[in-house]
Subunit: 302 residues, 2 copies
């Protein structure tokens, strides 16, 4: 392998950025860590938390020594953030990110940094919390991190960033950016869109009071409120950037929903039973693959 | 108060029935407990688990001494189960149930037991697991139990069953059955329908493999698989019985989804941001009211 990653810069110190910082501190204590956030209050809080060795007020300064720069900002802010670090970037630094869609992010980073060694990434991990206090080192344990290098990208650089994520506890997969965006539209973007929708529907429905929606939420609704409490800026950007794949997958969802509505209208219990039986298996497989807890009710303690 | 509840019979020993049995053992150890299930294998297992003092093979025998009979069978099986216990029922027993919709259940029970003292009920609690092994006494702690007595129902009897649920840790609310069915269509039936739909959509989508759906499910999808793993028979019956309220509420959801799709198509980031910001508040309120855990990610340990 060529030179190792001795210094890492994290641009954007929210849930994901601050989790990476904590993960580096824990798993790679020898790595020199710098950080930056456009929000002065977040920088101040990150300094209080000692999230990095240095958190300068200048983004170019934050990346000046880094062998690896990880952009942890909303997808729509990626290009501006990359332009802001450009003046300080080492010529052989690897620039990566954690954005939830990859083809648009690659274009944004390439626009801002035409000559940089860009290897986009996406750790499939998160919680509904935001900000520098919300992060924790174990966030990536046993989660997948997808890398979407362009064809011809230096293989050793790809290997280096793969090792970086593995050090943080993640499992790494290489994927084409367009495929990533379709797969994630199914496993992440559509679920979020549906959760945002239904939580809005329930809480705005005039026939039922908000008090009733809250009191009786343990009947199922509360599950949706968790991901519908995710960061609004992040998700606005995801839907705008990955609109085509999201709308394509949504069409399948709407067709399936129409099918179930017809079954309900016509009293076709066999069709409902058949559909509901098949959905059980996928949960079992997810638990078996270690992608969710086996305990009933997510192991909720209340 | 008139005579107290000295003997309870539970008809249907699945998740809810067996949780009530365990709750009675724990909170009301002096109560004589009998049980019944149409499935001989469930009766055998319930005996192994000592879920009740007696679990006879004859449903009429199971209720013969009971002051309170709680029907814990799927909504569509309610009338047949009530007919089966009718020959053994004491003339002054309270007959209640735990069905997820109340107007249809009241009709079913009234058809089978025209002269009985019927007080329908619905504890808003459950997990995605089914069967006599899945139950636990704490299932009803801090959860609401809605009672839907008919106008003119003996107030002391209503008070007795309210105290019974309170003894099991629940909070009790009295509601009109039609209102119950609308409120629960919002907080439980619609979320389940949507979860069943989206899990089916994702796992049947030809463009994306089932392996990918499972691997990357931590991006949000896995949350939906929990309630989509709920009992298929129970949910088939709920959608057939409460079809009108479910379809009415679903129409609101579809209208809201159309609105968000338009915003995505037209690149209206402000509309998306506005919608996503408002959904955060409802999660906070649910946590504040003790209807969900405050810990990120439901406190999942993986």
């Amino acid at each position: 392998m060529t030179k190792s990653i001795e210094a890492v810069a994290i641009v954007g110190l929210g849930l994901i950025g601050s989790s990476i910082a904590r993960g580096v501190r824990e798993a790679l204590p020898e790595v020199k860590l710098s950080g930056y956030d456009t929000d002065p209050a977040v920088r101040a809080r990150a300094r209080e938390l000692s999230l990095a060795d240095s958190i300068p007020d200048d983004p170019a300064e934050a990346v000046a020594e880094a062998d690896l720069v990880i952009m942890c900002v909303p997808v729509g802010a990626m290009e501006a953030a990359a332009r802001a670090i450009a003046p300080g970037l080492k010529f052989d630094a690897i620039v990566s990110d954690v954005g939830s869609c990859k083809a648009p992010v690659l274009r944004a980073l390439r626009n801002a940094l035409p000559d940089a060694l860009i290897i986009p990434g996406h750790p499939i991990a998160g919680t509904e919390k935001s900000g520098p206090d919300a992060g924790f080192a174990a966030l990536f344990h046993r989660r997948w991190c997808i890398l979407t290098p362009e064809p011809g990208t230096n293989a050793q650089a790809v290997e280096q960033i793969a090792h970086f994520w593995e050090a943080l506890g993640a499992k790494v997969e290489i994927m084409d950016p367009e495929r990533h965006d379709l797969v994630l539209a199914v496993t992440s973007h559509l679920p979020h869109l549906i959760a945002f929708t239904i939580v809005g529907t329930a809480s705005h429905l005039e026939e039922v009071t908000e008090g009733e929606v809250i009191k009786y939420s343990a009947g199922g609704f509360r599950d949706f409120t968790r991901i519908a409490a995710s960061d609004p800026t992040m998700w606005r950007d995801v839907f705008l950037a990955n609109n085509e794949a999201v709308l394509e997958v949504l069409q399948h969802f709407q067709d399936d929903l129409d099918g179930l509505v017809k079954a309900i209208r016509s009293g076709d219990g066999a069709a409902l039973f058949d559909w509901f039986s098949r959905t059980r298996d996928i949960r079992r497989a997810i638990v078996y693959e270690g992608q969710d807890v086996a305990a009933p009710d997510f192991g909720r303690s209340t």
